[in-house]
């Protein structure tokens, strides 16, 4: 996109020509003022006709293609890019709400300095001052610099950060955020490394599967790609009734997936992986299904006792036998490991235990995402939690000279308070946030240098996991930047100029020339074009790059049999003191909290609870009666590590021994909608500092809690209470008959 003239510029031009006319007086050839705007409209704009720009959604790490309708310099609607192979023109609610990142009323309008951390008194500074401050801080920090980014970072910016840290002798950037942590990115990659020798995220061809066993995967709400799996689910269900896909969801609390499942197994939290192993064992022992599957099952299935797992997990042994038979005899069965089973025990072994079922099935429809398709392209890789723990230790020991936090990572909100991140920050001499809005981490920052939102910024993204064919997304500004913000890539290049060690490593004049150089390394793609300019234009026009030969099928590499040992589930907190399991889940609208600042997301009803602006502690009906609480009663939930207060939502579809809590709210910053209008607990306050046995994941799924009444009540904002919407004419009798 070339230089475009925005609405404001037009007004300025208009004003300037009026002034010019007044000042020049008699020299001016004609006595009237030229009205510029609609005589010579800006390039690419016709009044009243929308211009569509292709770009990339950055609301989660998946990387869906979007097209944005721009009218008179304003972005007015985001839709899915119909050509994009990942989302095929569709978008999830978070993708739809991207405009409210751009037009959020609480965005920072320029760089600020905070003299006293946590004071919320921000003093506006110029970019020159900001860059001087940052340069001085980085020079002082040198090799003790740490960069922390979230997984939605553009490849070119991560690349620049990597070059900067390498030039200063500092460790490479840490990519860690709550979304990828709760989805189990690090452990899923490590499980693929264990089984297939490639540390990459798995991809599942659900659209062609006939039986899917989902072990707690929230594939319709968050997880690896909400929209892709949503599209795939449509195909999975679309086929004629005799071949309609059969979905089994193993989860202690029903989310969207369990609601849509043909069979919901309400198992005991933590027993997903043992159940997968029991199914593998039963396939091996029962001998049902094709001979090759049975022989693979005999080679792979561990020596577990299905009867014992049945009683420990609460899944009847007959159901396990039936599921083993269903899986072994299906034409294209799939087993999917979710985020929850990577939150305790040995996360890698547990994810691998589920993947082993796919190996037994023959591996059709299971893929390992290929790496970046060209030299020099960078894709973020989720850091193992062990690295985050060590980093916090180093911070506490005063070994970190500067911490740069980019994007929605927001560690002060996302990390369990028991880890002590905010305390450790006090030992870091310089903390810089690049988020366009002040979040909980920016509250403790010295400098906030707002980057542009993704609708105003350049970038590229390697789609991971991709489904059968590599894809590189293009991200381009669809509107002119709203405020005096600056692209972090440009800031880094400017800063590096004054640091001798970094200047040679970052010689580019601006981020766009760096980005174009990277993209030029891609071989000719499916959209053709001759010459660098045309290829670049097609890259922007279509919103992505794809190699010339068409899509390939998902096929996992050969796996070599090896023992996958899953430890018995163990829990943090004694059962006597803490009688309930805590089940933390990421809801479809708020996800890990980055939906909380957008009214469209936080003010729309959650599909399961119909709550708006609120999240609750979800307690099963009989348990709520036993505790003497009902809707809106505020309870105190205590774990060995912390406590939160939350109103009760009585949910039918959760185990009686489990308290379910959604992530996303409990903000003390992130703008007025998240911190003032919305209210709800942040369940991360109940999580301990520990990692799982493999060190890849946070141990967040094996917490025990107890519940106390506080005697207070709050009004709930439930959509199901709306007059007539429920229990009106369209009522329970209709639901029982037709739904």
């Amino acid at each position: 996109m070339g230089r475009r003239i925005g609405r404001r510029d037009l007004l300025k031009i208009g004003a300037a020509s009026a002034v010019a006319a007044a000042l020049s007086g008699c020299e001016f050839p004609r006595p009237w003022v030229h009205l510029e705007p609609y005589v010579r409209p800006p390039e690419e704009q016709v009044a009243g006709v929308g211009t569509w720009y292709a770009s990339t959604c950055r609301q989660c790490p998946a990387g869906c293609g979007i097209i944005v309708r721009v009218l008179n310099g304003r972005a007015v609607k985001i839709e899915g890019n119909p050509q994009h192979p990942l989302n095929e023109g569709k978008l999830c609610p978070r993708g739809q709400a991207g405009l409210q990142d751009l037009y959020n009323p609480d965005r920072l309008q320029g760089p600020v300095r905070q003299a006293e951390r946590g004071s919320r008194r921000y003093q506006a500074i110029t970019w020159e001052q900001a860059i001087d401050d940052l340069r001085a801080g980085l020079s002082r920090a040198g090799s003790s610099l740490v960069v922390w980014a979230d997984h939605t970072i553009s490849g070119h910016l991560l690349d620049l950060f990597e070059r900067l840290t390498a030039a200063l002798g500092a460790p490479p950037p840490v990519v860690f955020d709550l979304y990828t942590a709760l989805s189990g990115y690090a452990a899923l990659s490590a499980a693929d490394a264990l089984l297939f020798g490639q540390a990459r995220l798995p991809a599942y061809g659900m659209e062609e599967a006939d039986v899917v066993l989902s072990f707690g995967a929230g594939f319709l709400s968050t997880w690896l790609s909400t929209t892709h799996y949503g599209v795939a689910f449509g195909s999975f269900r679309q086929r004629p009734l005799d071949r309609r896909g059969y979905l089994v969801q193993f989860e202690p609390r029903s989310g969207l997936e369990a609601a849509k499942a043909d069979f919901w197994v309400r198992l005991r939290p933590g027993s997903e992986a043992p159940v997968a192993q029991a199914i593998a064992r039963l396939i091996a022992d029962g001998g049902v299904g094709p001979a090759d599957r049975v022989s693979r099952a005999r080679a792979w299935a561990p020596a577990v006792d299905p009867e014992a797992i049945s009683s420990a997990s609460g899944v009847p042994i007959d159901d396990l036998r039936r599921l083993a038979g269903t899986f072994a005899t299906a034409a294209r069965p799939l087993a999917i490991p979710g985020g929850a089973l990577t939150g305790h025990g040995d996360a890698v072994a547990q994810a691998a235990a589920v993947q082993v079922l796919n190996v037994i099935a023959g591996g059709a429809g299971v893929g390992i995402a290929p790496g970046p398709p060209a030299e020099g392209l960078v894709a973020p890789v989720a850091a193992p939690y062990g690295r985050v723990q060590r980093l916090v230790e180093r911070m506490r020991a005063g070994q970190v000279g500067a911490l740069l936090v980019w994007g929605a990572a927001n560690p002060a909100y996302a990390l369990p308070p028991a880890l002590g991140f905010v305390d450790a920050l006090k030992q870091v001499p310089l903390v810089v946030s690049f988020r366009p809005i002040v979040d909980e981490t920016a509250l403790w920052a010295d400098l906030v240098l707002p980057d542009r939102t993704y609708l105003e910024a350049w970038g590229y993204g390697v789609v991971e996991p991709s489904f059968g064919v590599p894809v590189v997304n293009s991200q381009q500004p669809v509107v002119q930047p709203l405020y005096n913000t600056r692209a972090t890539g440009d800031v880094l290049l400017e800063v590096a100029k004054g640091i001798p060690a970094a200047a040679a490593a970052l010689p580019w004049p601006d981020e766009l020339s760096f980005l174009r150089e990277r993209i030029a390394a891609l071989p000719p793609g499916v959209f053709g074009g001759v010459g660098e300019e045309v290829e670049w234009a097609r890259f922007l026009q279509h919103g992505f790059w794809q190699p010339r030969p068409g899509p390939g099928a998902l096929q996992a590499p050969e796996a070599r049999p090896q023992p996958v040992v899953v430890p018995a589930p163990s829990f943090q907190g004694a059962a006597g003191d803490y009688p309930f399991f805590l089940y933390i889940h990421m809801p479809v609208l708020l996800s890990d909290g980055r939906g909380a600042d957008k009214p469209w997301l936080v003010g729309s009803p959650d599909p399961m609870t119909t709550l708006m602006w609120q999240t609750c502690a979800e307690i099963e009906t009989n348990t709520a009666i036993r505790l003497g609480v009902t809707y809106g009663d505020v309870v105190r939930i205590m774990s060995p590590y912390g406590q939160v207060e939350a109103p009760v939502y009585v949910l039918n579809s959760v185990r009686p021994d489990t308290i379910a809590m959604a992530t996303g709210l409990g903000h003390s910053a992130l703008g007025r909608f998240a911190s003032q209008e919305a209210e709800g607990p942040n369940p991360m306050a109940l999580v301990g500092p520990a990692a799982d046995a493999s060190g890849t994941s946070m141990a967040w799924a094996n917490i025990r809690v107890r519940v106390e009444r506080t005697g207070r009540r709050v009004a709930l904002a439930k959509f199901e209470d709306t007059r007539g919407s429920y229990g009106g004419f369209v009522n329970q009798a209709f639901a029982d008959q037709y739904l």
Binding site: L241, G603, G728
Partner: protein, 240 residues
């Protein structure tokens, strides 16, 4: 009530309940397309939430009950109960598009239509819409922003119908079978929502409804003749 004979199209929506995942993408897309305000917490608690399309969640079966999702929006009834009760003809049936229209500048806010709608899909603006700047920039200029005192509801994205018709007319051709796509249908990841002209046998909705034993209309016994067909959830027949 409608005289259907003059209409050129029979705009119809099909909702496949087997595919709907309840994800709310349609809800957010509708807010974005139609400038529907988000009501704040106290307004929601006063039962004044406003979503032209909503996902109703029902519990079915014995405990542990299973959630079922029912997308509910204006049914664009052929014989709409909301129309004859409007004293100012703000709720009218369009002969050309065969839709239930709400004429905002006629509406005086009696709310009789809301009272008479068995689907409860009309939303009254009890408050002025509130878009703190620069959230005003997100507003779709093709759609009016309604003030307090006005009744509003789903329009089947009539601005998109008009835009597609104008486009086809300017190119001197007939409207294609699936050229009009409302915002909710456009975004729906599993394609649970389909939209089109039922009278065009080439359209997706006509194909989806042809001899489909799963098709039903909500509260059909009231004789409202809704333009939205629901496809009942299916079952898998898996060998055990």
């Amino acid at each position: 009530m409608a005289d259907a004979t003059q209409a050129e199209h029979k705009w119809t929506m099909v909702v496949d309940l087997d595919k709907c995942t309840g994800c709310q993408a349609c809800v957010v897309a509708c807010h974005a397309e139609n400038n529907v305000p988000i009501r704040n917490k106290s307004e929601v608690q006063a039962n004044r939430a406003q979503h032209w399309i909503r996902i109703e969640r029902y519990w079915v079966g014995d405990p542990p009950a299973r959630a079922r999702f029912l997308p509910m929006l204006c049914q664009h009834c052929n014989r709409a109960p909301c129309e004859p009760v409007c004293p100012v003809y703000a709720s009218v049936h369009s002969q050309r598009e065969h839709l239930n229209l709400q004429v905002y500048n006629r509406c005086v806010g009696t709310r009789y239509c809301n009272n008479n709608c068995p689907y409860v899909v009309r939303y009254f603006n009890f408050y002025d819409p509130y878009f703190p700047a620069p959230l005003t920039e997100q507003l779709n200029p093709d759609v009016t922003v309604r003030t307090a005192g006005i009744m509003e509801k789903c329009t089947f994205c009539i601005q998109r119908i008009n835009r597609a018709e104008q486009q086809a007319r300017s190119e001197g051709r007939d409207l294609g079978p699936d050229e009009v796509i409302p915002a909710c249908v456009q975004t729906c990841p599993p394609s649970a929502l389909l939209f089109g002209d039922l009278w065009n046998p080439e359209s997706r909705v006509a194909k989806a409804l042809a001899d489909n034993p799963r098709a039903l209309r909500v509260l059909e016994h009231l004789g409202t003749e809704p333009a939205i067909y629901y496809l009942k959830g299916g079952k898998s027949y898996v060998r055990f």
